[in-house]
């Protein structure tokens, strides 16, 4: 199935249907978010499926079927299942200075700053969806391949980061086969498929971060050397980080910070902060935005920097603080992912029942397609949810501590300095977990 040319486009087409419905519901349907398909199915159902099942279980698989870049890609390829001839694009190279995650970080922060509005107002939400598609189409016409997905998409950024913890990977069986294969069909493409749209050379792929699981290389590889493996979860996390990837470290820190700020704003007892986040007054929102950006870009990264620096100073491990900051930032990924799973589980259990009404009456026009229009709001497993959430968070903490120890052991296989290097990081992780437990359990 994965080798079929129709696999990815058909999956995208199928998902384009609810996406179009979500946009329509946002533009034409009720402005009550909890009864609007656009809000309920994107920000409750899709988000929960993405963060609880897809990313932890299958990594980047959402990027395989995501409908957002689909129109742009089909325009570029002059066809849906398979195009002919040259790509319809200016084919510009993405500027070297932007070949990192900074734009994705910025995009995510912008969405996060307006999230209380985006998540509750269907028309705004629809505007964001249309905007993302518009940018994706525009970039497809200007830039080569999936430049949007690789360097701009704010969702793809964190999916890529957390996919490094997933138990699934696309890799080559034997890197030497790739070295010896002169044609490099996986890059150039052939009559079976396109050269890697994500601009990745599978032969050197050792992390999930940049691979969009588009399956093109599975089709184009004439050596049958590309495979999808099951593996130990988190296998990428202790691997060395090539080059200066402070952008990647900040992605992990921003995601962890947001995973703490979101429940604090949404579920916390601070009504004023919630009003600020909902932009009930511009002045209030400015205060919220400033505090949010300071927390995500200065305070939490600063504390992590201090933890890393403290560990390096006490063990004299030979790493520069900057290098250690990059390397140990991978330890934040399991806890960050666990925090988002925790958030999403709580959100889905609390608000999932809205889906039953929304699927019968997606626009709030009084339809009753499946006879579930009048199903009332019912939180599920409200008694068990805190226990489930605590278990996920503690699991994430242990996974993160283990990751930091593995990174430490890679730099000092003797293990003599590992505890000293990682103890402050473990303390940072523990403090973050306690903050999250306090927010969820009170």
């Amino acid at each position: 199935m994965l080798l079929s040319r129709a696999f990815q486009p058909v999956a995208m087409l199928i998902l384009l249907a609810p996406f179009v419905l979500a946009v329509m519901a946002g533009l034409l349907g009720t402005s009550a978010g909890n009864r609007n398909f656009g809000i309920v199915f994107v920000w409750i159902v899709w988000w929960a499926v993405l963060m609880v099942l897809l990313v932890p279980g299958l990594g980047r698989v959402w990027c395989t079927v995501c409908p957002i870049p689909a129109p742009g890609e089909w325009v570029q390829r002059r066809g849906i299942i398979g195009g002919a001839g040259r790509l319809r694009t200016r084919g510009l190279r993405w500027p070297r200075r932007l070949r990192n995650m900074w734009l994705q970080n910025a995009g995510f922060l912008v969405l996060a700053l307006f999230s209380m509005v985006i998540l509750t107002r269907p028309s705004v939400s629809a505007g964001v969806f249309v905007g993302l598609i518009g940018v994706a189409v525009g970039m497809s016409l200007l830039f080569e391949k999936r430049t949007f997905c690789r360097y701009v998409c704010p969702i793809g950024g964190f999916i890529g980061l957390y996919s490094m913890a997933a138990p699934v990977e696309l890799r080559v069986r034997d890197a030497q086969v790739c070295v010896d294969h002169r044609e490099k069909d996986c890059i150039t493409g052939n009559d079976r498929g396109y050269g890697c749209p994500w601009m990745v050379y599978p032969g050197k792929l050792d992390r999930n971060l940049d691979c969009g699981l588009c399956t093109e290389c599975l089709k184009t590889c004439t050596m049958d050397n590309v495979v999808i493996n099951l593996r130990r979860p988190g296998a990428d996390l202790a691997k060395p980080v090539r080059g200066n990837r402070i952008d990647e470290a900040f992605k992990a820190l921003i995601m962890l910070a947001c995973s703490i700020i979101y429940p604090a704003v949404l579920f916390g007892p601070w009504a004023t902060v919630k009003e600020w986040a909902a932009i009930e007054s511009f002045g209030g929102w400015l205060i919220y935005a400033a505090a949010f950006l300071i927390a995500t870009l200065v305070v939490i990264p600063g504390l992590f920097w201090l933890a890393v620096a403290g560990g390096q100073r006490s063990c004299a491990g030979g790493l520069t603080v900057r290098r250690a900051f990059n390397e140990y930032s991978h330890a934040l990924i399991p806890l960050g992912l666990a925090a988002w799973v925790t958030f999403s589980v709580g959100f889905a259990l609390t608000n999932g029942s809205y889906a039953l009404a929304a699927i019968s009456d997606p626009f709030g026009w009084g339809w009753d397609v499946f006879g579930t229009r009048d199903v009332g709001w019912t939180p599920y497993l409200s008694g068990a949810a805190p226990t489930i959430q605590a278990a996920i968070l503690i699991g994430g903490l242990l996974f993160s501590i283990r990751t930091s120890l593995r990174v430490g052991l890679r730099h000092d296989p003797s293990g003599e300095t590992t505890l000293a290097a990682t103890a402050p990081i473990a303390a940072f992780l523990l403090a973050s977990t306690l903050a999250l437990l306090w927010l969820y359990l009170g």
């Binding site: 040319r5 129709a6 486009p9 058909v10 087409l13 384009l16 249907a17 179009v20 419905l21 329509m24 034409l28 009720t30 402005s31 009550a32 978010g33 909890n34 009864r35 609007n36 089909w74 066809g79 849906i80 299942i81 398979g82 195009g83 002919a84 009559d191 079976r192 498929g193 009404a357 626009f363 709030g364 026009w365 009084g366």
Partner: protein, 321 residues
């Protein structure tokens, strides 16, 4: 790599998703659905007045035409009712839910659909007009003059005059009821219409003339009882609670949660009831208090409801005073 047949099929599928599905949905909602209905269905969006109120805010229907009004609350919980005299109250409609009513109006006139649940600071402005027209004279909607308000006008009574505060008088209807048999009550004081057009203070003068030897405080209590003789029903106390208590307070003392937001301090009935004529209160309720933020309820309440409401204000004024 070209797969012409596959591409064609996919293009058809894409066109269906991007063009066909939206066209089908819009066509069904705005074309087929109304066409299939055996009567007219009007969708009305209900938002707090600050966000736009009712949309549409005018609905026109003919006498004898069956119509369904569907109210979709989009922001906060609203209470939807239609009055006066139609007896339609949909109760609470929560955000995202739709409350609907199907009815066939029989009397031409101007009715009001309104929110009767405190939904925002401007809650009182949340009103729409239902015009029921007679197909035989479609140009006009019956507007009937109110005889009580007309009579006040004819007598040059200033409805908006400042109410006089009663000082040193503490009427108690319960004591008055017990003393009723000990005094001579002239027939005029037994007449609800006379009581409506006279204040309790005026009633006391009449009662004193017939009972010169009875202590004044006893007569005050008897007058208090007579002016609040009609026992309040659950419907009227509910009407007061839904429409008046937010500003005037649960016991009518001007201390409701909305009191702080009004242009003028809401009236505390026990303070002014002694010198106030009931027909002035009636007119205030029906017409509204000019420039005070007191809204008009003439489009919501029937004459009978309004009179019973005036009696209820007396009851509140002379109980537990």
């Amino acid at each position: 790599m070209t797969t012409t047949r596959g591409n064609r099929a996919a293009l058809v599928m894409l066109a269906f998703i991007v063009v066909g599905v939206p066209a089908l949905i819009i066509g069904y909602q705005y074309g087929l659905r109304p066409a299939l209905a055996d009567h007219r269905v009007v969708d009305i969006e209900a938002l707090a007045p600050e966000n736009g109120g009712f949309s549409p805010d005018v609905v026109r229907v003919e006498v004898g035409e069956t119509i369904t009004l569907r109210f979709a609350a989009d922001d906060v919980t609203h209470g939807i009712a239609i009055g006066p005299g139609l007896g339609i109250d949909l109760g609470h409609v929560d955000p995202g839910h739709v409350g609907e009513v199907t009815f066939t109006p029989q009397e031409p006139g101007t009715y009001t659909y309104y929110c009767n649940t405190w939904c925002s600071a401007d809650h009182w402005r949340m009103r729409g007009v239902l015009e029921v027209v007679d197909p035989n004279s479609p140009g006009g909607v019956n507007v009937q003059l109110d005889p009580i308000i007309e009579a006040l006008g004819a007598a040059s009574v200033d409805i908006d005059s400042e109410p006089e505060v009663a000082e040193g008088i503490f009427p108690d209807r319960s004591r008055g009821e017990r003393s009723l048999d000990t005094v001579e009550v002239p027939p005029s004081l037994r007449d609800p219409d006379w009581r409506l057009s006279h204040s309790p203070a005026e009633g006391l003068e009449v009662l004193q003339a017939d009972n010169p030897d009875t202590p004044e405080d006893v007569l005050v209590d008897v007058v208090a009882y007579l002016w609040s003789e009609t026992p309040p029903t659950d419907e009227i106390s509910e009407l007061f609670a839904r429409n008046c208590a937010a500003c005037h307070g649960e016991r009518g003392r001007g201390d409701g949660p909305g009191a702080a937001t009004t242009l003028e301090e809401p009236v505390a009935y026990p303070e002014v009831s002694w010198h106030r004529r009931g027909d002035i209160w009636y007119a205030k309720i029906m017409r509204g208090g000019m420039g005070t933020d007191m809204p008009n309820f003439g489009t919501l309440f029937t004459e009978e409801e309004t009179r019973l409401l005036v009696d209820y204000l007396r009851y509140l004024s002379f109980t537990e005073s």
